[in-house]
């Protein structure tokens, strides 16, 4: 029937929209960042730590460093908490407690990033400031904020993985006389390894791209720093802070930062594909 054919075509068009979207995003971001790559130069843009647009310095390394350190910090705190919570939910939590935590984690995932950022700005930053005798802004505060934000992602995905494991695995291990901890450590965790890895990578993606919450607590300075309590910036926070007044090459340099983020996000997806393909084989 002709009608059925048209409908089918329409449905394919809907499905293809995701490809069109990613293509358009890539083309636009690339096109907008071209002036910076050609005029400011590759080295000035990607290999320099100096960010001073008024004098023609567009180096993004300081912010790339900020992005990497805050993401790692967020994962170091958030991943054990998330994975641990998932194991607790799967293995130990009494029914009511489990439901409470599961709902709680869902709510946590829904809390807007500005709200968490505001919370970080008014509670966390003063707390870090008092603890370390500094301004309180910086990588430490941003990492804790990001940990809170990756926690729901990692918990939910790990719980799903653990639940998809066959129950015989645990039963067999317990029947062999293993304690619960032994069966978690040597049977369940190895079986769920790939799923947990994917959960952590997706958490990483969320941490890397988080903008507003980080921008509110990182201090927004231009310096390259490895100190946990000195103000610095991330790729995302720099884009938000500067996009309003940027024009010309300056604006284009910000798009180049977006391009870097875009490439990093795609890399994460490719890594996940490789990890999950190995499991299937």
């Amino acid at each position: 029937m002709a009608r059925e054919r048209y409908i089918k075509l329409l449905l394919v068009a809907c499905a293809s929209l995701s490809f069109l979207a990613i293509l358009l995003i890539f083309i636009f971001i690339f096109k907008e960042s071209m002036p910076a790559i050609t005029k400011a130069g590759f080295g000035n843009l990607f290999l320099s730590t100096q960010w001073n647009p008024d004098q023609g310095h567009y180096g993004m390394l300081a912010f790339l460093n900020g992005t990497i350190l805050t993401t790692l910090g967020g994962l170091i705190i958030g991943a054990p908490l998330g994975i641990g919570t998932a194991i607790f939910l799967d293995q130990m939590a009494p029914k009511k407690m489990g439901t409470l935590i599961r709902r709680g984690v869902e709510l946590l995932a829904g809390i807007p990033s500005v709200v968490i950022g505001w919370f970080g700005l008014t509670i966390l930053v003063p707390f870090v400031a008092r603890l370390t005798n500094s301004s309180g802004y910086g990588i430490a505060a941003a990492s804790i904020v990001l940990a809170v934000m990756v926690l729901p992602t990692i918990t939910a995905l790990t719980t799903e993985t653990l639940r998809s494991l066959p129950p015989e695995l645990r039963e067999a291990s317990l029947a062999m006389g293993a304690t619960r901890w032994q069966s978690i450590r040597s049977v369940l965790l190895p079986a769920a390894r790939e799923g947990i890895l994917v959960a952590v990578i997706l958490g990483m993606g969320r941490a890397m791209g988080e903008t507003m919450a980080v921008q509110m607590v990182i201090g927004n300075s231009r310096q390259l720093t490895f100190s946990l309590t000195k103000g610095t910036g991330t790729l995302t926070s720099r884009m938000v802070t500067d996009m309003g007044e940027a024009t010309g090459v300056f604006r284009s340099a910000l798009f180049a930062q977006a391009l870097v983020l875009l490439v990093l996000a795609m890399l994460l997806i490719i890594v996940i594909r490789v990890v999950t393909r190995k499991r299937k084989a």
């Binding site: 995701s18 908490l81 194991i87 407690m97 709200v115």
Partner: protein, 286 residues
């Protein structure tokens, strides 16, 4: 025994982790509500006009902006993602094309929202010359939400028992009629629950809206081409620019209202899905 002792320590540790997670959530919610609930519940605040320079401003137009934006964006995204989900679940065979589309969806899902934001800025606001408006934000957020919406719809469609389809087709219904009359109505409760996360995300999204819809308005937006200032973006703006003396009060109250809105949507969609599922079952019984 050593192993038993270790097991006990592990149990204590995992209980601790579970309680810490619960504690973090409780701390944030209590803190936000404790600071902002009184402001949030006063009518002059949640329905009042914002002030650019004096104290005492409200956030009425911002709440309207958020709701309007969410509705508009879902109106765009939902039909497309249901269509794509039908294709993926009912027509397409698992093969290269599907695999490729999934790769695109996964990539869209991990792209930082700020990348969507500046994309929306260049395409809708600048290239299309719409300037800052609701529609620019709605389209950008529709793209942002496409992967989650599609996955939710696809899973709900796949959960519909195969026997339903067989029964319908054995009565002579075509494939499309089967989908329209049998599969989609049965999948609807699941599809509706699947909109909770995306709607909540639209409400909370600030990195996209500050680049596409605008940051500050004083009148309620009516047309999709009107500039708007969704609450989440305005909270950020009020906090960062701090042009009014009582900005702390506005941010505290706004954050509390934002949380209430997100929780309400969550609750309402669950309720609606349950109600819808129950009604459908009754129809089948008759």
């Amino acid at each position: 025994m050593d192993a038993r002792k270790r097991d006990r320590i592990a149990t204590i540790v995992f209980w601790g982790i579970g309680l810490v997670t619960l504690g973090i959530l409780a701390f944030i919610i209590i803190e936000i509500f404790g600071r902002g609930l009184i402001t949030a519940l006063s009518p002059s605040f949640f329905s009042g006009k914002p002030e650019a320079k004096q104290v005492g401003g409200g956030i009425g137009p911002m709440i309207v902006s958020s709701l309007y934006l969410a509705a508009l964006s879902m109106l765009i995204a939902l039909p497309v993602s249901i269509g794509a989900a039908i294709h993926m679940a009912e027509y397409a065979r698992e093969g290269r094309f599907n695999n490729f589309i999934r790769f695109c969806l996964d990539s869209l899902a991990t792209l930082p929202s700020i990348v969507f934001g500046i994309f929306g800025l260049t395409l809708f606001v600048i290239t299309f010359r719409w300037s800052y408006c609701l529609l620019a934000g709605a389209f950008t957020l529709a793209l942002l939400n496409l992967p989650i919406l599609l996955r939710g719809a696809e899973e709900s469609i796949k959960l519909v028992p195969q026997t339903y389809r067989e029964a319908s087709m054995s009565l002579g219904a075509s494939r499309w009629t089967t989908i329209k009359r049998v599969v989609l109505p049965s999948a609807m409760p699941g599809i509706i629950t699947g909109t909770v996360l995306p709607v909540g995300r639209i409400m909370g999204e600030s990195a996209v809206v500050i680049f596409t819809t605008g940051l500050f308005i004083r009148t309620i937006p009516l047309s999709p081409f009107d500039p708007a200032a969704p609450l989440a973006g305005y909270i950020w703006y009020a906090q960062t620019e701090a042009t009014v003396l009582d900005y702390r009060k506005i941010v505290n109250g706004g954050a509390a209202i934002l949380l209430i809105l997100v929780f309400l949507i969550n609750f309402a969609a669950r309720r609606f899905a349950r109600f819808y599922a129950k009604r459908k079952q009754l129809e089948v019984k008759f």
